[in-house]
């Protein structure tokens, strides 16, 4: 069953796209991340133009994260104040990110830059997660004391000015780090076509020291709004949001996410994190290989829009 995508201007197998969306949905429900970091490279792999893949990712993330936010909201597991700080900074970041994206598109470096971003961030986050979960599993096996030097690492943050109280997170810290986190994730989201959950979660936990129970809800809250904004910006600025592609993806995605959530409840935290780390590192390695290995075709073509 083929379907013609009006913006990407090519026809794809609808079932393949729904399947991809579903698969990534399962992963996103399982790990509580948007899954953009997997879906965007996969879409590019099956021939969707990178610009379309990145911007169509945004509404897909909105859909799969929205149900999550609703669930967390009902459980009051969203730090609204922190969410808005992250959101405000995120929107500014997203705005700049879309501008950078347009500029890169003109230069013809979108593909390279997006891939490079992926390799760097997936490598960093995947490596960190693998390290953390392996040591957590080891500690559990040894039955030793859980010692964390996270607090020591966080000391410099407490020296920053403009302290604000975040009641739900039980934090009294400077607003500068949350603003910086929200801002950089806004930029990355627009450029890489990801929600940024896989970067935001570790950042909120390890850098800010937010309690785990509000982290996921707050991060989803921020992601949904930033991605809504990114969708509109990409639609207006680049005209690269493909509604048909988005619909197919999220049909599979929202269903997959629900299955993933059920599946996730049956696995232990550290195992889950180790699995996710392995997945992230695999994607990272595959993309890194693309950058390093000699490509079979050196040339590429792109249409120059009239005007």
């Amino acid at each position: 069953m083929t379907i013609y995508l009006p913006i990407a201007e090519l026809s794809v197998n609808a079932l393949l796209i729904i399947g991809l969306g579903g698969m990534v949905g399962v992963i996103s429900g399982l790990f509580g991340v948007g899954g953009g970091f997997l879906l965007t490279p996969l879409l590019i792999l099956i021939g969707i133009p990178p610009a379309v893949a990145v911007s169509t990712q945004a509404p897909q993330i909105v859909a799969s994260s929205f149900s999550g936010v609703l669930a967390h909201w009902k459980r009051r597991a969203v730090d609204v104040k922190m969410g808005f700080v992250l959101l405000g900074a995120g929107i500014v970041g997203s705005f700049i990110g879309v501008e950078i994206f347009s500029y890169l598109r003109e230069l013809g470096q979108v593909e390279f830059f997006v891939t490079l971003c992926y390799v760097v961030f997936l490598g960093l986050v995947g490596g960190l997660m693998a390290f953390e979960s392996v040591s957590a599993l080891k500690r559990r096996r040894n039955g030793g004391l859980v010692t964390s030097n996270a607090a020591k690492r966080r000391r410099w943050i407490h020296k920053l000015p403009w302290k604000v109280r975040f009641k739900q997170s039980k934090l009294y810290i400077s607003v500068i780090p949350p603003i910086l986190i929200g801002f950089s994730i806004g930029i990355l989201g627009a450029i890489m076509g990801v929600g940024g959950g896989f970067i935001m979660l570790p950042a909120l936990i390890y850098l800010l020291g937010m309690p785990t129970n509000v982290v996921v809800g707050t991060s989803l809250f921020q992601i949904v709004f930033v991605m809504m904004f990114t969708t509109i910006l990409h639609a207006v600025e680049n005209r690269t949001v493909d509604a048909v592609l988005a619909l197919l993806l999220l049909l599979g995605g929202v269903v997959g996410a629900q299955f993933g959530a059920v599946l996730g409840a049956r696995l232990r935290g550290e195992q889950l994190r180790l699995l996710l780390a392995a997945l992230v590192l695999t994607v990272c390695l595959v993309l890194a290989f693309d950058l390093i290995a000699t490509p079979s075709e050196l040339y590429s073509i792109s249409r120059i829009e009239a005007g």
Binding site: V62, A63, L70, I232, Q258, L291, L298, I301, R303, I304
Partner: protein
Amino acid sequence: MNALSKRWRVSWASAALCLWACLSAGLSHAQGADGPMTPFGPAGIPLEERILTGSAQDQVAITATFSGSELFVYGAIARNRFLAVGENSPEIIIVVRGPSSPIMVRKKDRIGGLWMNNEAVRIAAAPSYYAVASTKPLPEILEELDDFTYRISIDRAVLIAGVPFSAENPANFREALIRLKRQSGLYRNTPFGVTLKGGTLYQARFRMPANIIEGDYQVRVFLVRDGRVRDQARIELPVRKEGVERVLYAAAQETPFLYGLLTLLTALFCGWGASELFRLLRR
């Protein structure tokens, strides 16, 4: 429904053509165009030939389920007299071209160990789709000069001129463009793709892949003798997105904000709907 009626029209047209072809082949045989009997003298009247053309479709619609299309081009050669002994049939070349646009061709280089786009050449105009079919391979039937004048072969259709190049060897970039377009089925060259029956009736089929873009396509038919173009005919073939595709594309271009907003609302609704649905199912 639309596709079905189109298929009917195509098969209807080809049936009519077959009948026509049989009749005329029979006629020409009976009157001995190839044989010794020639009712009209060859010498007196100089041969004049005109080319007539038609296509089974007057437009191509890109609908949601579009998976490529086949274009059927047919026609006939009109003459002021029958061909005499020793006079060969002319050669026919048919060119289908899609809308042209400037194209950037980029070449990757290894920079600091990583492969990234480096040199770029702007091709002034390259057709989005280009198909050439002929009764014989082009070099055998067409002179360079006429190929150049009428811009017939793919090499003549892709224009590189008019821009300063930063690249060392811009010709390579043009070749790369043609190679890539060929690989995606957008540029095609089929020598022997045109069949000429009884020296008067011709037909050709063109495959238009699913990744064609919309715009005004043009079918040009050339009648060639002794390497020179003697007559040409053309028909316009609009390729348009239709139905949902049309609406969405127009919305994305003309009212991008509303389009983005509607896409968002759909996304929100689906996300909410799925979670509600699963909550109901789990009960």
